[in-house]
Every structure is written in C-alpha cells, then in structure tokens.
Symmetry: none
Subunit: 222 residues, 4 copies
DNA sequence: AATGAATGAGTGTTCATTCAT
DNA sequence: CATGAATGAACACTCATTCAT
C-alpha cells in the first residue's frame, strides 16, 4: 500500500526534504544561521554576506523574507525569546509544593541559560542597543507575564504555609534568579580570563547549580 | 616671557592647560571620548570618525597614539578596569569584622556598578568578543588577585568566628556578588522592556541594594 | 435591438467585466499603471515591482505580455503618441478659413498639452534617451505626416487668400507651436521654482492660451 | 637654490598641475564628469561607479566632497545654473535701444541653449523630479530676478518710445522666449525622429534663430 | 606634533528577471 | 493563464586606515 498518493502538504514536505521550493524551510534555515552569526558577532559586527554564505539560499532571499539586516535580527530575537517562554509555560510547578517548586524553577532557569548561550548572548547584545529592537516585538511584553505569575503563585503558597517570608516581590525575585543564572554564562569569558576558571566546566556547573538554588531558598525562607 | 624650562610632565600639564600641544591631555581626551563611543556602540558599532569628531584633535592623532581602532579599544578597557581595581584596594574591609566587612564589600560592588554603566557595558561588550582583547592586557590578571584575597580574608575570619559557614569558595562568592550587582545594570534595558520597571530607579535601587546584601549574608551565615 | 452574442472583444470585455481572466483588460490595466509610473519616475527611475503592485495582476504577467521593462515602456509610448495623433485627425480644420483654422489648431495643441501632462513627461523622458525607443515604433513616423499636412493646407490657403506671409515652413511652424505649448507644461516645475508662479494655474493658463494664439497669428500675418 | 621661495598658493597650483593634493581641482574634475553623466543618463540612470571611473580620483572622494549621489547632482545643478545667470548679467542690453536690445537678448538666449545641451538636459531632468533638488539650492531663487529685470527694462523703454505694446508681462515674455529657445534643443531627438529633420543642423539653426527673433519682435511690436 | 586629502576593500541593499508549481 | 519563490549582478555608500604637507 505504500504511501497514500498525494498526501497532505506537510507530509510531502517531510518526505521530500530536497524539494526546491520550501519557503518555511528556507526561512528556518536563514534564521538558524542568522542566530549563530548575530549571537557570535553582535548586530553591527554580523555580516549579511557571511550569513548568506552559510545558508542554503542566496543573500537576496534574506532580504525577500526579512527586509533588512535589522529585520532579520528582530526575527532572530523573536524566535529566541519565544523558545524560552514556551518552555517556561510547560514547567507545571504549580503542582509542586512551594520549596520543591521553587527549586525546580531555579534549576530550570539555570539549565536553560547554561544550555542556550546563543540566547544569553543575544539578550546581552540587545541590551547594548538599549532593547530598542525588542521593544518593537509586539508579542514580547505579553509573554513575560507568565513567569511572574508562576513565581507569584509559589510565593503566595510558600507564605501561606509559613515556609517563605512575606516581603519578597516576585519581579525582584525573578531578577535575582536571572542574575545568578545569566551572569555566569554571559560573563564567562571575562570571568575565565580574570580567574582562570571557566564557569561552564561540568564540575563547576553542578556546584553553581546547587549554590544558586541554595542561595535563593535561603533568601526566601523565614 | 619664557615658559619655565621643562618641568615634570604632569606639572606642566596643570600649569599650562591652555597650551596647544599637550600629549597627555590629548590622549586623555581621546580616551574619554572613545570610552563613551565604545560603551555606547560596541567595538564593531563604534566609528573612528565619530570618536575623532568629538575630540579636540584629529583622527590622525588617534592613530598616532593608539595605533588602531582595536588599540584604542584596548586602551579604553585597560583604563576602565584599572579604575575599579584601584578603588577596590582602598576598601580596607580587613579592618572591619566579617559581617560588617562583607556588607561593605557588597555595597561597594553594588554602588560601583550602579554608577559606572560605561564599565558594565564595556565588560558586556568584551564578553561578546570572548574577552580576547582583555586577555592581551598584561596587567589584567595580576590585578584580580586582590579582590579574591579580600573575600578570602573575610571568609576566613567569618568562619573562624563561627559566623560564616565553611564551605564557600571565594571565587564562587565573588561571582555570586558580581552577578547580583552586574546583571541589574547590564540588563536594565531588556528587563525594563519586559516588566515595565527600570531597575535604576532610585527607589528600586535602594531596595535592590538591601536585598542583595541580605541575600549574600543569608547565603553565608551558618 | 439587442446586442449580437459574443461580438467584438471590446464588447465582451464590457459585458463581463468581472470575469477573472480577461487578457485585454489585464493589458490595459498594466499599461495604465505603467504610464503613470514611467511618466512620474522616468525609465530608469521606474520600478517594475512598483508597477506590478498597483496592478490587478502579478509581475509575471507584465513580462508575459510585454517581455521586459523596456518593452512595457515602448508600449506606453506607443499608446500615448497614438492618442494625440488620433485626436489631431479629428480636428477638421480644413473646413475652416485659414486664420480661424490656425487658431483652432493652436488652441487644440495648447489644450492637449495642458491636459495631458503624462504625455508631455513621457516625451521629455524619451528625449533624455535620445528617442531611441520611439525610433523602434514602426507606426510612429507615418503618423506624423498628418499634422504637417494639416498645417500645410492652412498655410497654402492663407497665402492664397493674402492673409499669411509666404515664407513659412510648415515643419518649422509646427515646432514653434509645439515649443510654446509644450515648454510651459514640461518646465512647469523649474519655472515655478524660479519665478514663484505656476503656469498651470487657471488664470495664467487662459492668458497663455490667448498669448500663444496671438503670437502665432502675428508671426504668420503679412 | 633655484625656485623663488614659496610663491602664492594659486600660482603654485597653476605651475604644478600634476601636484597630487589639489582639492579644488579634484572637485572641479568630479563635477565636470558628473555633469556629463547626469545630463546623459538622468539622476536615476546615472551610475556613481561610472562617474568615478572617468575621474582622476576614486569613488570615495566623490562621497568625501559631495556626500551622496544626490548631493553631487545638486552641486552639478548649482554650477550649471550659476553659469547661465552669470553670463546673462554680462549682456548689457540696457545700453541698447529697445528693439536692438530685445533682439540681442533673444539671440543670446538662443545661442546659450543651442550650445549648452548639458544645461538643457539637466533642466529637463530636474523637471522630471518636480524641481525638488533645485528648490534646495538656496542661491537659486535670488539669481532669477535679474533676467526679469532686464526684460522689464526693455519693455518699459519700448513702451515709452511707442515701439512696443503695453500689455506684455515680463515673466510671460521670458517664458515665451525660453520656450522657443529651449524646446528645439530639449526635444531635438523626438522631433528629429518624427520629421527626419535635426533642429541642430547649422542651416536650420540659423533659420530658427532668425525666426524666433522675428516671432518675438512681431509679438511685441504695436 | 598636527592635519586635510585620499583610498581600497568591503557592506547593506536593490534591481529586472526567471523558475517551479 | 496565473503565482509565490528564487536569483545574480549591480548599486549606492561606508569603513578603518594612510599619505603628502
């Protein structure tokens, strides 16, 4: 019976990856290469030619789909921020008791930053530009509410159960957790140069992970 | 009329600030403008022409003294890292008892980052470049030992007095303090965009300062 | 009296204006948009994409029907020159006495240029290109004979009646009339900028019309 | 030691035409080539690379001195308009009696347009662009007053002496003279194609010159 | 010590046109 | 007849750097 004749488009796309006209794949491919370039070189340092070369298509298509270097950069930002928010929503810490939930959240945040250096670098780069490109992403602001909601839920339940202190603001706590998880990745290079110690080394990583969870929980406990 | 025959350079510079050719002043002026440009635009984004324009001298002098755009960038890095290390050495926390000394150290770190956004931005930028320019600054590595020595001293004394736990590594602690003080400045823009809250606002700043001291001390206490 | 089923193309086009595929209408639509674009931007300045966008069809059709940007430009030229020659032939000045006929011809020329800025601009543009596209229009040369014939007829009859001088060449006269009617439209912008006076303003237009008729007749009269 | 020590700069420039650093000559050379290119190809059709190639210098200098393609185009316009106005002021027709003066003015206008096709083409091109670049030339408007003043003087004196009619507006007359002198040059190509007759042929030129003077004087005489 | 003029290699972008569906 | 996707060559413009004075 083989394959049903002329199945759906998406099926066809998967089966025949070599087909020449596949806009989605073309865009995805460009975005992937661009993410690497922008993350490695910054917005000003990135070269459109360099991106195009490592793509399956030509420079022209890059402009066809993304309009400009900045447009492409924005698309990269959008994708990369979308990824973390999507994952954060699948955490389901509301099902855990407060301390365990908080541990889980911190560990997730730690792991995500540790594994996604591109994301960390792009956020860093965006800060060099005063977040002006991020501000133009319409979907951005709304996506942040959920992290805060998650933290707020944990805090409320922890306070109610007498485990957590009651004077901690969820956004401040988010900033604290971010700081601890982000900085060791974003400043890995200068830190390594200064102290001859690479924070991303497996043994250090495990130690930092525990340390950060510990620091956050000690900060929260009554 | 005679100009006093060749006194010391620094003296001469002060005495006759209006004299037309003052190499030290020219260099200082270039470095100042360059610091602002590199910090605002990044290494790739900075424009040599733009720096030269805002200088009291010409583009040619910039090359005369610093050799290249990268040479100038390195000089800026050198100056800016030199400043913080110099100040750190004047802290004299060894004269304070451990908890008070640690509080003082954290507050100093907090205040320094909060007030020196240029420094924070330049470190951020340097991390984008994998710290490769920092690595070439010969004086750099040696200068970092003192912070760690200071922390080590505080930790040792705190452990001895039974106030601090005994399993904390000074470099890890330094990273933790740095993270908390650096991130809220370096990521001010994206944070502001995401949560509509500017971490550099005076009221938030005071709150964060206390919070960070609190978090560090809770982490250290037995 | 009914209309015969499926008569000429133009009839069909009118009957079923909403039918999806109507080659003639598609071509007409493309030509209309292209006339505006070429007239406004020149040949080099015109954008194929810009034309296609404002069309009811796609860019591909534009190439399908006209072959190239230059082919389309030629088609526009052809249409636009065809229009004026067609009208000129309907003037019937041969039925008027010489002076009245000449007045009528000048007024027609004046009005036509005044009302058809696109035509004037396209002729101007064609002159920038040394008339090289016009030269390729096979039908062009033959179409010009009639204006000259008209003028010649008027001149001959005017000379015979003793009203006109006998040393005026019809082609030279045509050039004179054209100059007076064309220039004030073609150079409206620079003239307006130079003298703060727009030659296309209604009051000026009427004045110029009289003035030009007057000048031509004074030039011709014995 | 030979050559007189340091003569004047301008003298030096003339003596040593091959000297490498001569900004004025560089600018002049660029302007000259650019005038030819813009006049031949229009603003959109002109190629910066093409201009640079025919220059004694490089493309970069073109941007160094003129900022952009449009900046260069404006400089060309400025130069070209400056030339004719300068000449117009040297006409001294006020010293001639009205009819002779008017003849002289028309002949000058005729000759200037006939000999300066570049000027005519550039004005034509500028009209395609709605005179928007001309409008930005600050010196432009003021320079036009003098032609009108000259015409006004001739008209006034002619009316006073009873030679000219008294209902002719100087700006309208200027437009008429311009039309007759400009059009035969600007539309030479289409005219030639249409009637197989080149208006710039010597014999025709002389005839047209007389004809135009005749037409203007007949228009003005009582 | 200081400077305006000059430069070659590269940088983001656009264009008319064609292909695969 | 119709279309979105794709393209290579060209385009205006910028950059860090050096030269002649």
């Amino acid at each position: 019976m083989g394959r049903p004749a002329a199945s759906s488009n998406s099926a066809r796309a998967k089966i025949d990856a070599r087909r020449k006209y596949d806009p989605e794949e073309t865009k995805r491919n460009i975005l992937e290469v661009a993410t690497a370039e922008f993350s490695a070189m910054g917005l000003a340092g990135a070269r459109v030619d360099s991106i195009a070369e490592r793509t399956n298509t030509t420079k022209r298509m890059l402009y066809y789909y993304f309009g400009s270097k900045e447009g492409l950069y924005e698309a990269v930002l959008d994708k990369v921020y979308g990824d973390i928010r999507t994952l954060e929503q699948d955490l389901h810490v509301s099902e855990l008791e407060p301390i365990e939930g908080m541990r889980r959240l911190v560990e997730f945040t730690f792991d995500y930053h540790d594994r996604h250096r591109d994301f960390v670098r792009l956020v860093t780069i965006e800060n060099i530009h005063g977040a002006k490109y991020l501000e133009q992403l319409k979907t951005f602001r709304s996506r942040n509410a959920s992290v805060i909601a998650t933290i707020e839920d944990l805090l409320t339940r922890g306070v109610a159960s007498g485990q957590f202190r009651d004077d901690v603001d969820p956004i401040d706590l988010h900033l604290m957790i971010s700081s601890l998880c982000f900085h060791r990745v974003s400043n890995r290079s200068t830190f390594g140069t200064a102290f001859g110690r690479d924070p991303s080394h497996p043994r250090l990583r495990a130690k930092h992970r525990e340390m950060i969870v510990d620091a956050v929980l000690r900060f929260l406990k009554k």
